[in-house]
Point group: C2
Chain length 102, copies 2
Amino acid sequence: MYGLIGKMRAARGKRDAVMDVLRETTGALPGCLSYVIAIDPVDADAIWVTEVWTDQASHKASLQLPEVQAAIAKARPFIAGFEFQVETQPVGGFGLPRAEAG
Amino acid sequence: MYGLIGKMRAARGKRDAVMDVLRETTGALPGCLSYVIAIDPVDADAIWVTEVWTDQASHKASLQLPEVQAAIAKARPFIAGFEFQVETQPVGGFGLPRAEAG
């Protein structure tokens, strides 16, 4: 599996606008096992996104999907920057689709 | 919902021992919606854990469960430290149990 943990910063006052775009977009994208969007209780403009994909190729391919391209274009004006991003290799746990969770 | 994103560091060469304990323990704990355990492809002793709980009280209560207490005791000798931990407030996304994903 392929994982991403990232923190983005919305432009001042635009966090909810970014969240709305993220929520509209994160349906069942091919290869996406989990995509959790969270706010930060102590940082009003921050958004944490944690993702699990079957593999890195699925994540990369998702960025080319028309609905994802449209979402990126829609959210971009509201995003001030990306502060943190790490790639991980999820190996198991609880709550992932059973066949993938190992 | 209540979320945690954390990075722990295993003692040198003990990452897999910690992973084994985490995998054995993370069954269906009350209030746990997602618990993903990941290795770091560029940091051999690091383990990333991303958690989603129905609420903070459920997470806190889980730490008192006998099986979790036993796992903590079992893993502790293999853990060098915790390098990063952030609390989040997950609000939606994909892959969480439907009733909670909002």
